[in-house]
């Protein structure tokens, strides 16, 4: 595939992620931080996020599995997940976390369980999206091209 085509694909793909709500403007901020001195910054941060989120999700699963659910702890984990997901721009994950927190507040275990599933799902989805994105980027880089910056019109 030609470089230009790949680049176009990347742009379109990224735009679609925004359109579908997987990513939000914060992601752009991350992208802006990336520069020559730190060419893999976005990749590094996103990887870190997924590493961390996996731990958090495990903790959440365990916490909800307890006979006596500690809602405070639950809330604290979800809060953190919310913070980090919002920091990388993973909007849907963040929204799922917000819903999750609401159930924690009312101590609704069923609701929490459902939300946990949702958060996990969203994480999984966005992870895949990112992987595709990075792959495209790599292809571009490998072809000697530069990754186009996304200009969002909204």
């Amino acid at each position: 595939m030609e470089l230009v085509q790949i680049q176009r694909r990347l742009v379109d793909y990224t735009k679609s992620l925004f359109m579908e709500g997987f990513l939000d403007a914060q992601f752009l901020q991350l992208q802006q931080l990336q520069d020559d001195s730190n060419p893999d910054f976005v990749f590094e941060v996103v990887s870190l996020f997924f590493e961390d989120s996996e731990k958090l999700l495990n903790e959440l699963t365990i916490a909800l599995d307890q006979p006596n659910v500690d809602f405070k702890k639950l809330d604290s984990h979800v809060h953190q997940l919310k913070g980090s997901s919002s920091s990388i721009g993973a909007q849907r994950v963040k929204n799922a976390c917000i819903a999750f927190r609401n159930y924690c507040d009312v101590q609704n275990i069923e609701g929490c369980l459902t939300c946990l599933q949702q958060v996990k799902q969203e994480c999984y989805l966005v992870k895949n999206k990112f992987e595709t994105l990075f792959r495209l980027e790599q292809q571009i880089m490998a072809s000697g091209g530069s990754v186009p910056t996304i200009e969002l019109g909204f």
Binding site: Q26, Q29, L30, Q32, L33, N38, F41, E44, V45, L48, F49, D52, S76, H79, Q80, K82, G83, S84, S86, S87, I88, G89
Partner: protein, 699 residues
């Protein structure tokens, strides 16, 4: 001048140039190089923020734990210009970190969180954060954080700049130093900076620092303790920076430093008090239904006041011992006192109390009541009452508590150390001895100045105190655990005469914390002696739930421990009926000069343990002494009174479980006893002050 010393504000030399030029001119490079300390437990955020800050050209140090951040800050106080911290962190709450930083280092702190709820943001404001960022944080928001640094510096430098041009640089510090030290801001700044940098040669640095960064006063633990001591001495309500500054007497400290520190401290206390409201244990404890049967004893109130001057006595007598006048007719100040003490004892176990005292920072109940004042604090005490306070008399509820005595005594000291000095006014505890009915015994006439807020908490549980345990706590001390202590009920000895006890009739209500009353006896009294002599009134002894003999030494506080006479509250003996030894034994005092024995021992029945004094109240003795009916109901309060009056005042202070003094009751020369007992032991309690034997006092 640039950062020759590691302390310069900016690591980059260039920035210092501009700063030097004078404060508000922003260096070309500034805010580049701003030294930011970033604290967040979320690694993703940490990484992103770090990158962003670096993109702003700041000098970033990141850490993911609050403890780490604090230690970094402590090690290198001048190493950072601003701190950015997350609110929710596992090891320490972000707001707590914020407080620490504010108190210790006085750096601007920005809070951030994914939580944008109004309450949280408000919390940030009240805790003193200079800004609050909502996650996800955008780089634009970070670009401007330098404004907080400048703002803070500017405010601090204002005076400095006015006093001399900043440009003077090197000389400036010197000048200010030479200048009249009364110039607070400058002086403070310079002094602090000076303090930090030992040698004068660092003018350059100082210059840099001053221009770049005002030297901050480092509030070390010691300094802070001095501050707290001064504040307690003055009373939190009355503590003004100027006076605190004077009391602290720390060279180089400016009024402004103190003022800002005071502000933070107040916030801190407010927060604490909001959190730590004791669920009125005091009330409960006071009224512990356990045996305490306190007879309304006005005298007690008297006793409590410790400082009852002769005139007061007269008044008391006139007042008919309050008994009649007492609201309930049976004021049992003494009893209450007893209780108070007794519970105190238990609480105060020596070891415990001390620890408590030490640990407890919060409520200084007795502001100014120097029951255990630290020497420094003691110095401030001006009331004799205070001194009385020192004498911690272990009011031991009889019988079982023998062990308590000591603790009491000793403890008293400790709690005080916490700086709980009853404020001046409170020293005179006017025990509000409230009769069970809640009438204050003192009001009966005894109005001793002692306002004791006695929350006789469960401590006094000694069942043995039956007679005493009347609920009519004589001391109805509003045991306010909070700092309000000082304020309230201590009418302080200064009230001559017997002023009616504080209005707080039911201290139960007030009691909100466990109070350990510690009774301090002023040395040199030998109530017992007197009592003994009063055969006809044997009840005296018996009645004395607590006999305090305290000479009104105004400053005995200091030495109190030495003098502390363990006072055993004798409970129960009051009641004519009971003259059981228990009653008497409750109070052990070591009358006379206690030379250092603070150990209040009290074997329940024998007072003697305490001191070498001649007067030993022994339960048996007392009982023996008393004629068959100790006190007929009418026992003659007058008699009692006179007996009491003869004694040297004593005081006792109550400490709460934490070792904070809650109440200091000054009594003047008369034993405190529960009238109730004398009169009708059966009454029971509204307050449960019973004579708890110290041992029994549940802690």
């Amino acid at each position: 001048m640039n950062s020759s010393s590691g302390k310069s504000y900016m690591s980059t030399a260039s920035s210092s140039v501009l700063w030097k030029a004078g404060g508000d001119v922003v260096a070309d490079q500034f805010p580049a190089g701003l030294r930011v300390l970033l604290v967040d437990d979320d690694p993703t955020c940490l990484m992103i923020l770090e990158k962003m800050l670096k993109a702003c050209q700041y000098n970033v140090t990141k850490c993911n734990r609050a403890e780490t951040a604090l230690s970094m800050l402590r090690e290198n106080r001048n190493g950072f210009d601003i701190v950015i911290s997350d609110v929710h962190m596992p090891d320490m709450d972000g707001f707590k970190l914020l407080e620490h930083i504010g108190l210790e280092m006085d750096l601007p702190v920005i809070m951030m969180s994914a939580d944008d709820g109004k309450n949280v943001v408000m919390k940030g404001v009240t805790h003193g954060a200079c800004d609050y960022l909502i996650k996800p944080v955008r780089i634009e928001a970070l670009k401007n954080i330098w404004q907080h640094v400048v703002r803070k510096r500017k405010n601090e430098w204002k005076d400095f700049e006015q006093s001399g041009s900043v440009e003077e640089g090197d000389r400036q510090p010197k000048q200010s130093e030479d200048a009249d030290y009364s110039s607070s801001a400058n002086e403070g700044n310079w002094k602090s900076s000076k303090r930090r940098k030992d040698d004068e040669d660092e003018n350059d640095e100082r210059d840099d620092t001053s221009t770049l960064k005002k030297p901050r006063v480092v509030w070390s633990v010691e300094l802070h303790q001095q501050f707290v001591a001064a504040v307690n001495q003055l009373g939190i309500e009355k503590a003004v920076p100027k006076k605190i500054l004077e009391l602290m007497n720390v060279p180089g400290l400016t009024r402004e430093n103190v003022a800002s520190h005071l502000q933070k401290y107040r916030l801190y206390l407010r927060r604490l008090s909001g959190v730590s409201q004791h669920p009125s244990n005091l009330n409960n404890s006071f009224m512990n239904p356990q045996d305490a049967t306190f007879g309304p004893l006005d005298l007690q109130a008297l006793a409590a006041t410790g400082q009852l001057p002769a005139q007061s006595l007269a008044t008391l007598q006139a007042a008919g011992l309050g008994r009649s006048t007492a609201k309930s007719g049976i004021p049992m100040p003494l009893i209450d006192q007893r209780n108070i003490f007794s519970f105190e004892n238990p609480k105060l176990r020596f070891g415990e109390v001390q620890q408590h005292v030490n640990n407890n920072k919060q409520t200084n109940l007795l502001h100014g009541i120097p029951t255990t004042m630290e020497p420094k604090q003691l110095a401030g005490l001006h009331h004799t009452a205070q001194s009385v306070g020192n004498m911690n008399m272990p009011v031991l509820s009889h019988s079982s508590q023998s062990s308590q005595n000591n603790p009491l005594l000793m403890q008293m000291a400790q709690p005080q150390a916490r700086g709980q000095m009853l404020n001046d006014s409170t020293v005179g505890l006017a025990p509000r001895l409230l009769s069970p009915r809640g009438q204050s015994m003192l009001s009966n006439g005894m109005a001793t100045n002692v306002s004791t807020r006695i929350g006789v908490p469960e401590n006094i549980r000694a069942p043995s105190y039956n007679p005493v345990s009347q609920t009519s706590s004589m001391l109805n001390f509003p045991m306010n655990h909070t700092s309000e202590l000082p304020g309230n009920s201590f009418p302080l000895v200064s009230t001559p005469g017997i002023s009616s006890l504080a209005p707080k009739v039911a201290f139960q209500e007030d009691v909100n914390s466990e109070i350990k009353g510690s009774v301090g006896f002023m040395p040199s009294y030998d109530i017992f002696n007197d009592l003994n002599q009063h055969k006809p009134q044997n009840w005296e002894l018996q009645n004395v739930g607590m006999m305090f003999n305290s000479s009104q030494h105004s400053n005995s506080l200091q030495g109190n421990l030495d003098h502390t006479q363990s006072v055993l509250v004798q409970q129960g003996f009051l009641s004519g009926q009971n003259r059981n030894s228990t009653v008497i034994s409750k109070a052990m005092f070591s009358a006379g000069d206690c030379s250092g024995h603070v150990n209040a021992q009290n074997s329940n029945q024998h007072l003697n343990s305490l001191l070498d004094n001649t007067v030993r109240v022994k339960s048996e003795r007392v009982a023996d002494a008393a004629p068959a009916n100790l006190y007929p109901d009418h026992f003659g309060q007058e008699d009692l009174m006179s007996a009491l009056l003869k004694q040297v005042g004593s005081f006792f202070s109550l400490y709460d479980t934490d070792g904070d003094i809650i109440l200091l009751i000054l009594t003047s020369k008369f034993p405190i006893f529960l009238q109730q007992d004398i009169i009708a032991p059966a009454e029971n309690n509204d307050f449960d002050f019973d004579g708890y034997s110290i041992d029994n006092i549940p802690v």
